[in-house]
Amino acid sequence: MAIRLQRLPSASPAVALAARAIAILLALVTAGLLLAASGAQPLKLAQQVLKSTFGSGFGLEDVGLLVTPLILTGLSVAVALRIGAWNIGAEGQFYAGAFAATGVALFIPGPSIVMLPLMFIAGALGGLIWILVPTLARAYADVSELITTLLLNFVATLLVYYVATGPWLDPGGHALATTARLKHDMPEFIGIVHWGFPMAILLAVITAATFSFTRWGYEVRIAGSNPQAAKYAGMPFRRHLIVVMLLSGAIAGIAGMLEVAGTVHRLQGGISNNFGYLGIMVAVLARGSCIGVIAGAALMAVILNSGIILQTQGVNTSTVLAITGLILFFTAVGDELAHFRIVSSKPAEA
């Protein structure tokens, strides 16, 4: 009898999930050890995080505010992954959506009941337009969408920074480097959490159902897992790719609209809080499942919120970004290891 490793083409769901959990735990332990090495007391910090997050309704409301954009940016990345496209540009589409929604709110007069849906549409269109060139370039010239979507993030960030400090600067002069306060607020849902939260969840559920129960969703899934087979079966791969990528951009744009209309109420540089990049993380944690995105977003929101709570302890948003990277790294390793199983077999007869 010899013991050897065998690689399976696809990991069993239970093993994959266990590998995930172990990977996240190991990543957090590693982060804790690194923090300890730099003189912090990780256990005390963890205790403080747990207490301020789950100890009161306010803590949970803070998490709720962070979860909303994370569900949507995560959903945006997950949707594109369904057809095998990497939308690394949710950050830029988020900015574009926030930009478009703010433009509508600032320059079109009207009552909130009309304006909010209009801003919603503008946000979705903003995100959609932002991913249009990468989509067409991928569909018709096979240019990697990974890099084009990412580069547009920098352009969107600069665009928002430019309008917020220049043409759209608050004429009242009450605040620096930001637009005037928008007149239209997303109404509150529970506490400080606005209606964007249930909307984000609803959107995730609808998307998941569309993928699972419609012919279109089926074709997209086939196209994503095996483009050759999809083309051979006569499915319009290019059309599906374009629709899915545009949808992905629109969802990220909606996230930007909700953030500006529900949480920040002004357009300013840095409004995205890295939500777009964290969305990649959420989608990966969810293994591309649209429902799983909600759980992934919840985990990321708690981690992001920890960074905010611990800001006074020398932990900051950059540290959170580094820890996020660590989790992603361990997850990628865990995912691969989940493919292996130990088998004992007789050595082959000579």
Binding site: R7, W86, I88, V133, A137, Y140, A141, D142, V143, S144, L146, I147, T148, L150, L151, L152, N153, F154, V155, L158, L159, Y161, Y162, T165, G166, Y277, I280, M281, V284, N316, S318, T319, V320, L321, A322, I323, T324, G325, L326, L328, F329, T331, A332, V333, D335, E336, L337
Partner: protein, 311 residues
Amino acid sequence: MDLIAGILHTSLLAGGVLALAALGEVLAERVGVVNLGVEGLMALGAITGIAAVVTTRSPTAGFALALAVGFVVGMVFAAITVYLRANQVLCGLALTLMGTGFAATVGKTYSGIPAPATFTGVEIPYLSSIPLIGQVLFTQNVLVYLIYIILPVMLHVLMFRTRHGLNLRAVGENPAAADAAGIAVQRIRFWYVTAGAALAAGAGAYLTLAFVPSWSEGVVAGRGWIAVALVIFAGYRPLNAVLAALLFGVITSLGFVGQARNWPIAAPVLSMLPYLGTIAFIVVPVVAWHRMRQVMAAPAALGVPYYRDLR
């Protein structure tokens, strides 16, 4: 004339950062591994360079230390993507997040301090007194010659004129065939990915030791991603990559000139130029000339881990 000389001078500096990172990425991608961690490696190199130069006052030590950090981190990345065969896109993104976040966390104490010593220009006798171009081309710091001439020519010869170069390209095109021919696929991948990562970190150090020269959060500003895109634009060839980087140096320095001379274009809009330019340069050629797609095609096995038993 001074204006053009000034633009060229800045272009060479700005392009050098991209060229070094792009050369590193060429190494990794030629053997079939996409390293999307360039941005993070550059951030690590940038902070290492500044931290070292503040302590030792020697930019050479800063650059060398950055290379070493890139080498070590690259070995971890290569071990996990090549031997463990974890998803290259995920590991690259993770490396970018970790590098950027870690550098920013550590960098708090160095933020805004100008580098106490930098790579400064060396006047090459006789050549530097050539009218017009002499001052631009032959008063640069030593690394400029390394980045623009020595390294790319060496890599070009290695890749396209030696047997080993043929082997390493085979590893990127068809690892199974290379394996059958007795080439150590995984070992070649491991070392080239590692070397590429070292160059990316070196590019970061070059940024903070010669170009900017100081550390601030976000100083890398997407240059790592531009470098990854340049590799595609350059058709995975070292000489092309350096020329493409220089072209981007020109675009970047035009933005600086515009700001310095108060052109009626807002600074943030000028800052968009390199990003928009990059997108245009990787999209337009393949749309305009269909044949470009074959000539400049990526290595066939790019991004695909190699399993011997799945042949």
